[in-house]
């Protein structure tokens, strides 16, 4: 079960992570070993098996379209690393 460094880099990009070259190599090898272990799943014939997408049998769990009590904005922004004027502040987004 081989994973290329390019694949590791692609995953790092999807995961929004920086990886040093050493990190990449280590991840490459640990991912390879985990996925090799996972190959054993191919030993099970699942051709006509439905996936268990939901563990409970319930369906149609809905909320009523009724507004709930509001909290104060200061409280909601309290944990923000950077905020001003009621906005969350982020570094420049290039469109």
């Amino acid at each position: 079960m081989r994973i290329t460094i390019e694949e590791v880099e692609k995953m790092a990009s999807l995961s929004m992570l920086y990886l040093s070259d050493d990190d990449k190599k280590m991840l490459q090898s640990s991912l390879e070993s985990i996925l090799s272990h996972a190959q054993r799943l191919n030993g099970l014939d699942t051709k006509d098996v439905q996936p268990t997408t939901y563990i409970l049998k319930q369906q149609n769990v809905f909320r009523e379209d009724v507004p709930l009590q509001k909290r104060r904005r200061e409280e909601l922004l309290r944990n923000a690393p950077e905020q001003e004027d009621g906005y969350f502040i982020v570094p420049q987004v290039v469109e």
Binding site: I3, M16, L17, L27, L41, L56
Partner: protein, 484 residues
Amino acid sequence: MKLNELTITRARNLLEKKEITSLALTEDCLKRIEEAEPKIHALVTVAKDTALEQAAGIDKKRAAGEKTGRLAGIPTIIKDCICTRDVKSTASSKMLYNYVPIYDAHVIEKLKAQDYVLVAKANMDEFAMGSSTENSGFGVTKNPWDLERVPGGSSGGSAAAVAADEAIFALGSDTGGSVRQPAGFCGVVGVKPTYGTVSRYGLMAFASSLDQIGPITKSVEDAAIVMNTISGRDERDSTSAIMQYPDYEKDMKKDVRGMKVGVPREYLEQEMSSDVRNIFEESIRQFKDMGATVETTSLPTFDYALSAYYIISSAEVSSNLARFDGIRYGYRTKEYADLKEMYKKTRSEGFGDEVKRRIMLGNYVLSSGYYDAYYLKALKVRTLIKNDFEEQFKKFDFLLSPVTPTPAFKIGEKSTPMEMYVSDLFTVPVNIAGMSAISLPAGLSDEGLPINIQVITNAFCENTMFRAAYNFEQAAGFAAKPAL
């Protein structure tokens, strides 16, 4: 006996009879914490002042003859991935080093309604990923039975704290064994309720289709009492089971005569230390002596549960942790030139290695080209595993197994991820299949380390589970305590 060594049952009794006060009980716990923490480091935050305040308040209510809750004045420790309003909740991650939630988890609301006392937040493997608490962003917790060994994980802090009597009981969370395995390593009782029984609202998500909050206690009866408090339908969690919830203490003390017990041979065939094997076989004898019939049976898909677990849980967590981006809460890196750098540095600095590994693995198995081969395949295997267990429960009232292949291992002993993952082998199938299970002390190894057994019951059959466990507990008479 020091008050912090009491069980819920005993403490409640003494409190109701006014023979002790909540304040005294809480003070003893805090004293013990002061004593034990430098050695075991089980806790992230100690809420000393508020705990004393809460305890004093309950005493006042009681003195005035007012009605108090079922857990009134009972000092409790909560795993740090369960949100407690106005009390720092970190999931033992640098990413949330300063995070103070503005809401309580559903289970906390329920405990508050019963007048519990919050004493501390417990250390854990970061974001619940791990089996030893070595992945904590704030240092490993030491096993009170042997300070060179791990307490297990991810609820290692909760289990160690209860074993060391830093509180009367604790809450942990179990995704692949994270309550049962540390309970086993620390010689206490741990329950993984059926998925859907305890609301996940306010539980920082690891794997959404597997996570359940569960009690870690000193006795089976205590666990049933806590279950009665924390379980129940919550409209804020769509996966909270819509059903009639039972009284978990009901019929617990009935005997187990005539009950049918299955022991899956696949468990027996695994490599395990001789201590574990001997104690397990002894526990089988115990059940036979109590009048249950024990038979060897088979779970043919046992071997596949661990792989299915790694794929499913990593996929879900890679998505669940994507929200940690330094914008609305938590850690943000200090220097960055643009948005992308801010994201990547924040996450790379805020998350530990195991978390990063699982996020990467999760994104891999969900990515186009691999989804069918891994994620979809794992979901299908999950169906087969679930079917397997359901077949067993047509014949048996419960299944019996060891909790871990060995007692607590040494800190630093497991050097590769796979090695660590394999220690979850016995507990993971229960989460995959959506069943319930309890881990309870059965004996000590030759080195004096606790060894637990696991009682597994069908979904929503916790009453059977508590009954079997209670009877075993009474018969086994495990009373050892760590010599901390």
